[in-house]
Symmetry: C2
Subunit: 223 residues, 2 copies
């Protein structure tokens, strides 16, 4: 057997095992009435800043918690814990994405039953997280308008599996050549039914609409 | 043997084979007097825009060519070919990084012997490209100031292996909370000797300094 064939086989096993763990997680989350959202994006697109805003906005009305993945440092967990919500850092070392087993293990340290929302922030990477189901109810892809309007065409897998795309840093649009409408058009070329919201974690623009989306989705899951 | 052990073993084999191919490529490039630079960054940090500027600036004085990696589309190759330099697109499908074998195969279609400079633009990914030697003389890491000043600490491997860091989109700094000096300080925490230039592909700021760096490096390799 060639090395490439072996690599493909081992990868298929890993993905299959991941899917089994993810399915069990999804069933537990649904049974517990916890709406689970994972956030995926390039490094620096604003996952943590947006999550910080959401934890702050949701924390007084709902029970919320977050798991955050990074190769190194627990900077994000410390930053997000200021919201008062329970936050657990998952340090992946050289692994470029979160896997369902990591979520399962992290939940041992987070009292998650009874939560209304659990957020999972993936490692900043537009490629590998697309293949790994984490048991979430929805994947939210975040793309900063500073990244240009062509990203959905160049990284189609991640945009294809997203339920919602947040176009972040919209406050910077006047200083850029990127075209927001073209970005949204490109996203719909790879995922025709995807919902899209334009937001700015910095100015707060569009965050109410995201909050409403989350609330509606949680109620929809419970119904 | 556990699945994880098998995965680690197969991965080590892949990296070892990659290193062998990369070493041979590096020897060929040096013998031919071709200075080879690879560009790594997050999606949307400006690799293609900076490369476009460099090909344009170098093309009248030097023999230059480029290989560009993307999961999907040949948009970048078509864009860069406008410079007049030979450009070859490498489409990786679901593979999140370039490997030495892909470079070797692509060079069959590019008349590279006699080139002064060969640029290799990697897939936009701050994680996986760090592990794969492509036979390049230097890895240049590009980070957009819009990504925030903490990225070198959160994605240390890629910044640790870079010879030069280009802090791009510096024209947007006035509209951001990110601190350029803090970003450079963080880069030096993971790579104390790394050279850093601030640039803007959009305004042209700093591009002369990068051009001078490339020229000096090529002359240094030939000496």
């Amino acid at each position: 057997m060639s090395e490439n064939t072996r690599l493909v086989q081992v990868r298929q096993h890993v993905l299959k095992r991941n899917d089994t763990v993810a399915r069990a997680l999804r069933a537990s989350f649904r049974a517990a009435g916890t709406y689970v959202v994972s956030l995926v994006s390039s490094p620096g697109a604003g996952k943590t800043a947006l999550l910080e805003q959401m934890l702050g906005a949701l924390h007084d009305r709902h029970r919320v918690a977050a798991l955050v993945g990074d190769l190194a440092t627990d900077n994000d967990a410390r930053r997000l814990a200021r919201s008062g919500a329970p936050v657990k850092q998952i340090i992946t070392g050289t692994v470029c994405h979160l896997e369902a087993e990591m979520i399962k293990a992290a939940l041992d340290d987070v009292p998650w039953e009874g939560l209304d929302f659990l957020f999972i922030e993936n490692v900043g990477n537009l490629v590998c997280p697309a293949a790994f189901d984490l048991g979430e109810a929805a994947k939210v892809a975040i793309v900063s308008i500073t990244e240009g309007d062509d990203k959905p065409l160049k990284y189609p897998d991640i945009f294809a599996v997203a339920s919602l795309i947040l176009v972040n840093k919209i406050d910077l649009a006047p200083y850029l050549d990127a075209d927001v409408d073209r970005l949204i058009g490109n996203a719909r070329r790879v995922n025709p039914d995807v919902e899209v919201l334009t937001v700015s974690a910095r100015t707060g623009q569009g965050l109410d609409a995201w909050l409403a989306w989350l609330d509606a989705r949680r109620i929809g899951q419970a119904a």
